[in-house]
């Protein structure tokens, strides 16, 4: 594995409620509520399959979903990957994801 591996808490630890395009999350271990947008819930779901580094995570997401790589602001067209990595950092800061 290239970079650090990440883990998410099991499904039983989180109560998710979908409301108009966003997900309200209650995270039992912290007692905190988070409001997240795609691809955050998808990232959490993918990490529940087991620990993964960023590259593996992106592979899992590609397998499950169509990722939109087009990003007008990016020369390399890796818009989706950049978004996933940014969300992963945010999820780690929020405590929803941790290093394995």
């Amino acid at each position: 594995m290239a970079g650090p591996a990440y883990i998410a808490d099991p499904e039983s630890a989180v109560r998710a409620v979908a409301v108009d395009g966003l997900t309200l999350l209650f995270h039992a271990p912290s007692g905190m509520t988070h409001i997240v947008a795609a691809p955050a819930p998808e990232i959490l779901g993918a990490l529940r399959e087991g620990a993964a580094d960023a590259a593996e995570l992106i592979r899992r997401l590609r397998a499950r979903f169509d990722l939109d790589d087009s990003d007008p602001g990016s020369a390399s067209g890796a818009g989706a990957e950049a978004a996933i990595l940014a969300r992963l950092d945010e999820l780690e800061a929020a405590g929803l994801v941790r290093r394995a």
Binding site: R15, V17, V19, D20, G21, L22, L24, F26, A28, G31, M32, T33, I35
Partner: protein, 288 residues
Amino acid sequence: MRHRLALQIGPVAFRIGSAWRAPLDALAKLYAGYPAPADGLCDFTVRLEPERPWRLFLRPSVAIRGDYVLPDAAPLALAHGLLAAEMGMNLQMALGQKRHLLLHAATVEKDGRALIMTGESGAGKSTLAALLGERGWRLMGDEFALLDMASGDLLPFPRAISLKNGAIGVMEAEVGGDRFGPRLDGTPKGAIRHMRPNQEALARMSEAAKPALILFPRFGAAAAVRGVGQAEVFIRLTQASTNYVALGRRGFDALTGLVRGTPALAIDYPDAETAIGLVEDFRRELAA
């Protein structure tokens, strides 16, 4: 404490102790007709004390204390003692209430359907609630809405309504003078005058109601109505709650239940009569 008063307001009982008599005399007069707690006990204690011992008589300075305190809160002048008592009760609720989800909102009820009005200070919620309370609606509260997390019902908490600046004149024109406290000028929020809710509100202060509509009123623009998405409602309600964070899973379930089960609208209104008209339109639609 030399002077004391006990009040039952909806499901919450307060005892208020004071080093001076005047604030409690004013409080007792404003809350005439409210029951004393039946069991002689209370849920929260408020204390009005001199900031320093010598401030009891010398330029009297009222520190707001009690079971729950804000460490750096500025004291008030004795002339504003009634306001100090009201702020003291607010503080106990904001910091100590853990049984029900608290929303900073005004609530009125008609035909068993409750309307929750929430938004920034100065949006006119208290004034609208006070007016609706005189126009066939029952006032359930102007400052705090209490959500029973088990049933999803709203519980009444009809404190004296806190009217500010222009709103004072509006309500003085609607309601007899015996229901008002003294006019307090020079407070941090300008002029304040407290108004007791009417007989119906007091008589029915134990009666819960189902939430039927969440309203985000905004004063000062031409009349407009728009729907509000559930995510936005949820976010705004957590911002309007002082105890959401402390309530954990129960609070999450109750608030998501409220948001998913209750329609929400944002309205702009140029004057109170327009807002009242809009509210009556909504009520008729909901009843149909």
